[in-house]
Symmetry: C2
């Protein structure tokens, strides 16, 4: 097991007795949640998409011989893997360890996650009849989610837990293509060519996603992120017609919970305004659009999350530091800023880089 | 073999005696080249990226049992495959049948194009020593290119031929990763972490690309397109630092030839201004940015090319037609417009859709 980093990680203190008395043990007043709500913060909060997994040796150790979907259905493993980056980096939020296809698997869709490939669907959905497999999700379908989140909330103390789900477009792409896709050919063929079937599928996925996110909030998640990873493949007018009605319904359906709602996709420079318009409190930005420009596109009343190119972390620290500072500076143009990468941590990332980055964000932004 | 489409394809006439007397037999006054030069045209010219290949049954027939790199080095096949879409669709320009790795193969890089995968490099370039393989390209390295273009120019008559090359960033990505890549991890690691090596590699690729494009122009190509397919993965500031100096040198090095220079990449909404700034006469636009907005980003003094989502062609014609009309209407905001797709023709595309689309563009824009 790697040693705990010796650098002056502010958050490292949290793994022992909570040292941050101002926040108490309830995450409601945490820096992360305050930034999401566009309230004043003492420092810019930071977490990393895919912080739990892949690049961490302690993750690879506990996952050895355990298939991904098994790990996602085993509360003890979920808790351990979710906690690992919190212990190591002292990030300001934990994100529930899972995968976006978990709710689909839970309602009986025949799928698997193949190493080096991704989700693979046994029977791609391309007809009205195929929709029948997409029944409603009940809390009883995902008992391991409820149990793991319950345990995590106790263990995390004042560190907030982010729950998440895949957004309908991205789930639809996997279901229609049968797996990962470069061009989303079949997905768009249905979207453009069979809009009735498309909207029926998206409606089913919206119901499932909404129910799944509500399960996570009921179990204690303090924030909810909707990952629409592949929606950047869609032009803005098409987003408005084929996607926005569904994502809007999800965010509206979460409004009564009072938890911040985060919305993220890759390559969404043209869609940033619409991602906010869908009803998100926080809009995630990849590395292609500087945060000050993103703030202009998203408009007032929303916080931003992002946006260091994850590949930058493969360069020496001397290259990383000034870029992180630049992002903090540009992030001041937003009403609230949660520091993150512009996409998930790359598997070859040195965890020490993320530890130093966490410290830098905390120290620089507190000045 | 499919029958030649019976629809009133203006360009279909060209396969017999040239019927367009105003243009004579020299492509210099062709609609395509005039649009590239932002001169008045009688109708909007149209061609399709990847029009030669993949979706055409006559292409699959001549390629049967012939590896891609063999086809790219066989003048008779190059000519036949390049002519196929001109005969079938009556498009306003032919594009030389080849692959962006052909010049690398020609100078001795150990690579292959694997079906269903793409270019695969035997020894990825990740050290200064590895650069040695990238020697200068001489016309004698690609005799089949010179021969094929010579034959094509005669056979095409008044239809202009577009030569092309891969841009240094995209070539660098294949060389560094060793093949196609989702995140360009190694590429960016070198770009950010070893800028000296990065620029040395880009300089070598720029020399090779420039020489290769000049060979094509010398052989008779009437326009040159630089494909930087994957550069949309780079943020604007990084494009300016790590890519622009090299693409600028290519376009400057072609200026004396007097042929229109086209610059295209996917997901380049944030880079459109810089793609023009690099020195292109025509900036290609994918489907994510409407052409009127693209005209604003690119600014005056350049024509635009694009930008129908290739996936739209998988939908019924009733869906395609209004979208094509919308693109023609928005294209009027540009000083010159060459109709095209926003990326290459998808393999599952019905050729009849492209035939109807060609006819629609010609008819609607001539009104």
């Amino acid at each position: 097991m790697p040693t705990f980093p010796a650098s002056p990680l502010r958050g490292g203190e949290r793994t022992g007795t909570p040292a941050w008395e101002p926040w108490g043990v309830n995450p409601a007043d945490s820096t992360f949640l305050r930034a999401c709500r566009r309230q004043p913060v003492e420092h810019t909060p930071v977490w990393f998409m895919r912080q739990a997994g892949r690049s961490l040796p302690e993750y690879l150790a506990v996952r050895e011989g355990v298939p991904m979907l098994t790990a996602c259905a085993t509360p003890d493993l979920i808790v351990e893997i979710t906690m690992q980056p919190v212990r190591r980096y002292g990030v300001d939020a934990a994100i529930f360890f899972s995968d976006i296809v978990v709710p689909l698997k839970a309602i009986g869709v025949d799928l698997d996650i193949k190493p080096g490939v991704g989700p693979v669907i046994a029977d791609p959905i391309r007809s009205p009849e195929a929709l029948a497999v997409l029944r409603d999700l009940e809390p009883g379908d995902v008992p391991y989610v409820t149990e793991a989140i319950g345990s995590l909330v106790k263990e995390l103390g004042e560190v907030p837990l982010i729950g998440f789900a895949g957004a309908p477009f991205t789930l639809a792409s996997y279901l229609i293509e049968g797996g990962p896709s470069k061009n989303h050919d079949h997905t768009k063929a249905m979207m453009y060519g069979r809009p009735d079937l498309w909207h029926a599928l998206m409606t089913r996925l919206t119901d499932i996603t909404l129910a799944y996110l509500r399960v996570q909030a009921a179990a204690g998640a303090s924030a909810l992120q909707l990952f629409d990873s592949w929606v950047g493949a869609v032009a803005p007018d098409d987003y408005r017609t084929f996607v926005l009605p569904h994502t809007s319904r999800i965010f509206a359906g979460l409004a009564d919970l009072g938890v911040p709602r985060i919305h993220f996709g890759v390559g969404t420079g043209e869609l940033l305004g619409l991602l906010g318009e869908a009803g998100a409190d926080v809009v995630g930005v990849d590395w292609r659009v500087p945060l000050d420009e993103a703030a202009r596109r998203v408009g007032p009343g929303r916080a931003l999350q992002g946006n260091l190119d994850p590949a930058i972390l493969l360069a020496p620290w001397e290259v990383v530091a000034p870029r992180a500072r630049d992002i903090l500076a540009r992030g001041r143009a937003a009403e609230g800023h949660v520091f993150n990468l512009g996409h998930g941590v790359l598997p070859s990332t040195d965890p020490d880089q993320l530890a130093r980055l966490t410290a830098l964000v905390h120290e620089e932004s507190a000045r």
